[in-house]
């Protein structure tokens, strides 16, 4: 797979193809599998994402610990704020829905990880709730998201334990922003700017889940990650460019992650997890799980 978005974009431009096509061709070569087979696997992932959104929006889900659940439904039927009726609200509720399913041990696509799994389907399926896209275009979007994630994995990290939440929901925001920009007709260069714009907005984000459980703040961080992604898409499509190339933003994320104190890397030793309320809730809930 490409090691930089720069190379991927240059290749796509030279060949006059989308980033998705460029990425799928390299993947097919790397894995020795036909492109059709890879598309097939991505289509399966798309179906699982749709299923998780559906389940999360309609189901009555509670996490193992009871810390999270039921909030996607509030966005679906609850009182409306300034985002009433917009795609923005559709995106938020879907990002939360998938994470609620995840926390309840339901089936999701880890993209890039389980903790950040709400952002990509939130953004893509939120857009699709207002506008028709073919499965082919959605699979292309997933391929481009995969390319972006693969570049992040090689240059930085996709693990909260290694690089903080900037590596999970932050990377997911970059993936979703790039994928959605392509889906809406953006050029490969615009996809690059969308990735940079999204990831610059999540730099430094720590991983601080209560009790070390992928629940709180994770569910909401997927929603805010999706919001950042959506903002980046809007800017990139409008023609805004970000002066620091996406690859260098990603490198910066990696550098910050390596410097990040271990308390902020999924250990529940710092951040929200270490607040008085965070500690109390974690303790209560973990004892409850043991009793159950």
């Amino acid at each position: 797979m490409y090691h930089s978005l720069h190379d991927a974009i240059a290749d796509a431009e030279a060949r006059g193809v989308s980033l998705a096509t460029a990425a799928l061709d390299i993947e097919a070569r790397d894995q020795g599998r036909p492109v059709a087979e890879i598309r097939e696997a991505l289509l399966r992932a798309l179906h699982v994402m749709r299923g998780a959104v559906e389940q999360g929006l309609t189901g009555d889900l509670r996490s193992n610990s009871g810390l999270v659940g039921g909030d996607a439904a509030k966005l679906r039927t609850g009182p409306e704020g300034p985002l009433a009726g917009t795609v923005f609200r559709e995106v938020l509720m879907r990002a939360i829905a998938v994470q609620e399913v995840n926390a309840a041990m339901g089936i999701i696509v880890a993209a890039p990880t389980a903790g950040g799994a709400g952002v990509l389907p939130g953004v893509l399926l939120g857009l699709a709730s207002k506008q028709q896209f073919s499965d082919h275009a959605m699979v292309d979007a997933l391929a481009t998201a995969g390319l972006i994630g693969a570049v992040v994995a090689q240059r930085a990290s996709l693990s909260g334990a290694e690089g903080g939440c900037q590596a999970e929901t932050g990377a997911a925001a970059g993936m979703a922003a790039g994928a959605a920009t392509q889906l809406l007709g953006g050029t490969p260069a615009q996809v690059g700017h969308a990735v940079a714009l999204a990831q610059q907005g999540t730099l430094g984000l720590v991983c601080d889940p209560l009790g070390g459980l992928v629940e709180l703040p994770c569910v909401f961080r997927n929603a805010t990650g999706a919001a950042i992604a959506l903002a980046a898409v809007e800017m990139a499509i409008a023609g805004i460019t970000f002066a620091i190339p996406a690859d260098e933003v990603i490198d910066t994320m990696g550098e910050i992650g390596r410097e990040m104190d271990v308390r902020y890397r999924e250990t529940a030793g710092g951040g929200l997890a270490a607040t008085p309320t965070g500690r109390r809730l974690a303790k209560e809930r973990l004892t409850q799980i043991k009793r159950a």
Binding site: M1, A41, M105, A114
Partner: protein
């Protein structure tokens, strides 16, 4: 090599790629080591696995793996009940297996028994569903489940690798990597052979029939 399908995937039961999906994969490898569901198992959890495992369903995921369930199998949620119903004797212990960074925070030692077979493995969940088994029966190994893998213990005889390679190539099984480890010179060798194609039962039987092979198992590729 990073694959698109590792990034957009795996499809899995939540909530944690490392504490649930990775844990399940480790259980599956222990399952494959005894070629089926073990009757008895000791599961020793270290570090973050011990601390936050219950909240992440790590216990259910490892037991699910031992039962042969894959990370996307919804039965993982009920794995503990299924274990009890089947009358399986699996025990959990929290322990310290060493210091970081030598020992990864998400490490587990699993001892499994099935009929006359028993094995001990040490493995870690590295994040994003990736795993690494670093020790089997005291031999240092490296198994990550990304390939179909043949593990075997054989006497250290000359030409053994050529014979094994011959059997595999006749069966049209392509070798991706082959690693050997010994506890001491002239002692038994532990071989880990990652292959591109799933070796059939016949291949397994042919390997087992070699007089200097003590035992061999096939570990199934998981995911992708």
């Amino acid at each position: 090599m990073v694959s698109l399908l590792d990034i957009i995937g795996p499809v899995m039961v939540g909530p944690s790629s490392s504490h649930t999906a990775g844990a399940c994969r480790l259980g599956l490898i222990a399952h494959d080591l005894v070629a089926g569901t073990p009757e008895r198992a000791l599961i020793e959890l270290h570090g973050s696995f011990a601390r936050t495992g219950e909240g992440h369903g790590t216990d259910k995921a490892i037991v699910g793996g031992l039962l042969g369930f894959r990370p996307d199998d919804e039965r993982l949620r009920e794995a503990l009940q299924i274990m009890e119903k089947e009358g399986l004797d699996y025990r959990f212990e929290k322990t310290t297996l060493g210091e970081e960074p030598e020992v990864h925070p998400n490490t587990v030692r699993i001892t499994v028994h099935r009929a006359h077979r028993h094995h001990v493995m040490l493995g870690a969940s590295l994040g994003a569903g990736r795993i690494r088994v670093s020790e089997i029966d005291g031999y240092p190994v490296e198994v990550d489940g990304s390939h179909h893998t043949i593990v075997m213990v054989a006497e250290d005889v000359k030409g053994s690798i050529a014979r094994i390679a011959g059997i595999l190539s006749e069966a049209d099984v392509n070798i991706a990597t082959l690693r050997l480890s010994r506890k001491h010179r002239g002692g038994d060798a532990f071989m880990v052979i990652e292959v591109d194609d799933r070796p059939t039962d016949e291949v397994g039987a042919a390997l087992k029939a070699l007089p200097w092979v003590r035992w061999t198992h096939r570990i199934e590729k998981v995911g992708g």
